[in-house]
């Protein structure tokens, strides 16, 4: 069931009913962040700390003949320089449990040994008294290569006789799976009224957190531990890989995450530099800091999104989709990332491409190929921006062929009955696919954009309107990830909650905030559950010694899964508080309830004990506890989403104008109707949508990581990699629908990725709508001004005839 509620920022209702969930309360983290008192990795300074920089490969492919660090070691200020041979580390290897015919595991050495596979690959770590000297040391290094032909495109990688990036991966293919093939699908295509096809490409992108990657590592003698302070979305996984590469017990590695300046997926895989810094700190006997500079972040950090689709779809004469067939090739660059592997993009696309539509027959082949480019990691939305774009292009094209309204064809195809099990064997929980589409179209009409488009056309202006309908799986539990056949299966989360003698609460979560406001939203969940002021709750994340275990933050899992674990833990603490409270009130547990920091008698509200009294009994005067009760007020809980998880959904609409002469795509209006179930903090939900949409627009119109024919990256600075500013990103109006989620404790679905998913297709469709008179259709992102310009010139030549 979905009920429409317009966005509203409710004040906390604690004074009336103790409910914090649903209110846009002031963020707990803001006062320190707006006053410059946040603590990010680079803000940490330790006595005796050495600064690291990496000697990186200047060729994209080849053998390493010699690494000469003599001059480096002589450079003033340089303390040491180590190669792979000096550090003797294990490799990072991501594995899928699939037969070798489907997946080829490859090793990513922490520092390259005898061979380099992309420009920017780390070869040696230089340690110096300050970062300037470390850079001097890097410049003094002499590396001799025997360069070989670089593989820089998917065509080249798959060509017969292509050089191999990894000797054990024939055809440069790391993954090749055909997950679905409905029987008789060719017959469906043969007898369909309408068949359309699309060849689509999306450029390589950099997730580009504003804070680059970084780490400060120190050996803590008293704890017998390597203390690794790093900005990662997955602290426990970094600990595991660090311990394995260093050949140590896991308890001797502690990963702590300070404030983090964004991640967007780039920081949810384990990086090589962090591990090398750890090994170097041990070897040198001093703390080591490495802060990635922007040039390295642009050329050698994990990238994403370079995909090619050859897709076709069959429709009946009414515009109902009958079959979908897709061949997907994802260029994953030089290495498989840990833990997700190079399968992350093609597996996501293969499993989920039918999206919000009732697709009866489906065939898909998904491949991950390897090339001599920086490796890929997940990036906000993972493949969904791409396959959604392809689906939406197919529908738009079919609408043209069948002379149907583009919204109407979607309306005839979106899933309306829930739960729905698709041809991809995924069961969707209830959403508001049709309602979101209808509301979004209504808003566009009500604002008069269709008239505007007509009138603009009469004046010779080129205006287009585009839509995009999609869902995103948010609560990926272990079952959903197990379908990917990963050797490590993410999914659950654990939470521990402790109340102290002052009645304040610390709750841990295995998720990892980096801008999503967990400090506030998870506290809201706990405060509501326990009936206390949100200021009484402290959320703790990002410390592998204090948090039992966690899968970190990615795939919009934090509120769905992390929030549910937190909620269950709070629930258990509530039971214990009631148990002790009832004893102190000399009554039964069923007779008492939690109310504004007290346990009170349900019928006689005068009889109440404050939490502080209960905590006093639990810690300071345990003699007052009921006989069957252990001292202390600590509870734990875990949560895992059952089945296929939860799906948020949205429709985006965008109005664009194309400018002749410059080829500029100007966004005149952007509307978003989203449904993420219960919104814990509406302002944060909108922030996630807007930020995501900005990144989606970036992908649609601006960003592209490019390489020359030798594999040399051609955008190693912000001059070449075009990141949109406030001048390019429009205001976005957001409307909310609310389909409460049955699986999660709070009824919330995740919302982190949706914006990124919807924007590329919506913008591309709008541009194509504007170009309709030219007959030209674009199926690639980013949409460059040159392409638009060329298309508009066609319009000029057409115009005299019309």
């Amino acid at each position: 069931m979905s009920s429409v509620t317009k966005s509203e920022h409710r004040e906390p209702r604690f004074e009336t009913d103790g409910t914090w969930v649903g209110a846009s309360v002031r963020r707990r983290e803001d006062p320190r962040l707006v006053s410059g008192r946040g603590q990010f990795v680079d803000d940490i300074a330790l006595p005796g700390m050495a600064h690291a920089q990496f000697v990186r490969s200047t060729v994209a492919a080849g053998e390493v003949v010699d690494i000469d660090l003599t001059e480096t070691r002589r450079t003033p200020g340089v303390l040491a320089a180590y190669t792979a041979a000096d550090l003797d580390l294990g490799d990072i290897t991501a594995i899928l449990e699939r037969p070798l015919s489907e997946f080829v595991p490859t090793d990513m050495p922490v520092l390259a040994r005898d061979r380099v596979r992309f420009t920017g690959e780390p070869l040696a770590i230089v340690l110096a008294e300050d970062p300037y000297a470390a850079e001097d040391g890097v410049e003094a290094a002499r590396v001799t290569y025997s360069a070989s032909t670089a593989v820089v495109s998917d065509d080249q990688a798959l060509a017969e006789g292509a050089p191999l990036v990894h000797d054990n991966a024939p055809k440069n293919t790391l993954l090749d799976v055909s997950m679905f093939a409905t029987d008789g699908i060719e017959d469906v295509f043969a007898s369909a009224d309408c068949v359309v096809d699309v060849v689509a490409r999306s450029a390589r992108q950099n997730a580009l957190p504003l804070e680059t990657r970084g780490v400060v590592v120190s050996w803590e003698e008293r704890d017998e531990q390597l203390l690794v302070r790093t900005c990662t979305q997955v602290p426990h996984q970094v600990r595991t890989v660090m311990a394995r590469c260093l050949g140590r017990d896991e308890r001797t590695v502690r990963v702590v995450v300070p404030d983090m300046g964004g991640g967007f997926g780039q920081k949810c895989v384990v990086g090589r530099e962090e591990i090398a810094a750890g090994a170097a700190a041990i070897r040198l006997g001093r703390p080591v800091k490495w802060i990635e500079d922007r040039r390295d972040a642009l050329s050698a950090a994990f990238l994403a999104r370079e995909q090619r689709y050859e897709a076709r779809a069959a429709f009946d004469s009414e515009g109902r989709i009958l079959a979908l067939d897709a061949d997907i090739v994802c260029d994953m660059g030089a290495y498989s990332c840990f833990p997700f592997s190079a399968g992350i993009e093609p597996l996501m696309a293969s499993a989920e491409m039918p999206g919000v539509y009732r697709v009866p027959a489906y065939r898909v082949r998904g491949r991950a190929i390897t090339t001599n480019k920086a490796p890929s990691a997940p990036y906000r939305g993972v493949s969904r921006p791409q396959y959604v774009m392809v689906m939406e292009r197919l529908f738009e094209r079919a609408a043209r062929e069948l002379d149907l309204d583009p919204v109407e064809i979607r309306r005839r195809n979106v899933i309306t009955e829930f739960p729905y099990t698709g041809v991809n064997m995924v069961t969707y929980d209830p959403g508001s696919y049709l309602e979101a589409l209808n509301l979004c179209e209504e808003l566009v009409r009500a604002e008069g954009w269709y008239e505007f488009q007509r009138e603009a056309a009469a004046q010779g202006r080129t205006v287009g309107i585009g839509y995009c309908c999609f869902n995103e799986r948010t609560g990926y539990g272990s079952d959903a990830f197990a379908k990917r056949k990963m050797m490590v299966v993410p999914g659950f989360d654990l939470s521990e909650i402790r109340m102290d003698t002052s009645g304040s609460v610390v709750v841990t979560s295995g998720t990892m905030n980096h801008g999503q406001s967990h400090e506030t939203t998870l506290a809201q969940i706990v405060a509501t559950q326990l009936g206390i002021d949100v200021a009484k709750v402290k959320v703790q994340q990002g410390d592998t010694d204090r948090i039992t275990y966690g899968w970190g933050t990615f795939a919009s899992r934090s509120v769905t899964i992390g929030g549910s674990a937190v909620s269950l833990a709070a629930d258990r603490l509530g039971v214990k508080l009631r148990h002790i409270g009832a004893h102190l009130l000399d009554t039964e547990i069923d007779n008492v309830e939690l109310h504004r920091g007290t346990v009170r008698h349900r019928d006689d509200h005068e009889r109440a004990v404050p939490f502080t009294d209960i905590a006093d009994a639990a810690y300071l005067r345990a003699n007052r506890l009921p006989k069957d009760t252990e001292p202390g007020l600590t509870e734990t809980a875990s949560f895992d989403t059952p089945g296929d998880g939860t799906f948020a959904n949205a429709t985006h609409a965008v109005v664009v104008e194309l400018h002749p002469g410059t080829g500029k795509v100007e966004i005149l209006r952007y509307l978003c109707v989203e449904d993420c179930g219960i919104a814990i903090h509406p302002q944060v939900v909108e922030g996630q949508c807007r930020g995501g949409i900005a990144q989606g627009i970036a992908g649609a119109l601006f960003e592209s990581v490019t390489y020359d024919a030798q594999g040399e990256p051609s955008c190693a600075s912000f001059i070449d990699y075009k990141v949109p500013t406030a001048s390019e990103i429009p205001d976005v109006e957001i409307h909310h629908l609310e389909t409460p989620c049955a699986f999660t404790e709070s009824g919330a679905k995740g919302v982190g990725e949706g914006g990124t998913i919807g924007a590329p297709a919506a913008v591309l469709n709008a541009v194509n709508d504007a170009l309709r008179p030219t007959g030209i259709e674009l199926d690639q992102t980013p949409i460059t001004p040159e392409t638009v310009q060329r298309a508009l010139e066609t319009l000029d030549t057409l115009e005299p005839q019309t």
Partner: protein, 184 residues
């Protein structure tokens, strides 16, 4: 590379003596020598604006200046605006309008806005947007940053009256949200 210079930097009203090499950037001196870590570094090549500070009242990129060039100048960093328990109106406006998510770009935007609002006390939304496009934010999509600055300008105007208008005059109303379609 070892030529050292003894300089005095005036930051947030206090004088600091520092021994720096000629190539040390101002942002490194502020962050690492003075331990004022609120000013951030996002690119070191003058594009992202995370390092924005005020030099003699005007926004400047601290990564594009050497510390030795800053001697004798009046430098202000984010730490001068207000402490967590005593935020300035601009900081409060950022928090109220959700003008930040991860908060990494925020000090740069705050100092940019502080400088901008001292020059232009009643800016239009478009002027704010244009000014703000000097800096990069990867989280917010910018809209709420523009909201925050617009809100702060409006509040200042309400409490002091528009600049240069002793009689009070009329403060520009907030133009957000702009829900009407543009006229044809």
């Amino acid at each position: 590379m070892t030529d050292q210079h003894l300089i005095t930097l005036t930051v947030n009203g206090a004088d600091h003596e520092l021994l720096v090499s000629a190539r040390r950037t101002l942002v490194d001196a502020i962050r690492h020598d003075l331990r004022l870590t609120g000013t951030h570094v996002g690119c070191e090549h003058g594009v992202c604006g995370a390092c924005t500070i005020l030099v003699d009242g005007a926004p400047a990129r601290a990564c594009l200046m050497f510390a030795v060039q800053a001697e004798g100048r009046d430098i202000r960093t984010v730490e001068s605006l207000g402490a967590p328990d005593d935020l300035s109106d601009l900081q409060t406006a950022f928090a109220d309008n959700h003008g930040l998510q991860c908060g990494f770009c925020t000090p740069g935007f705050l100092m940019l806005a502080e400088g901008f609002l001292s020059e232009n006390t009643s800016p239009s939304r478009d002027e704010i947007r244009e000014a703000v496009s000097a800096n990069l934010c990867r989280c917010t999509g910018y809209q709420t940053i523009v909201d925050a600055i617009e809100d702060c300008a409006a509040r200042r105007c309400q409490s002091h009256g528009p600049a240069g208008d002793a009689a009070g005059g009329s403060c520009p109303g907030r133009t957000r949200p702009q829900h009407e379609p543009r006229p044809a």
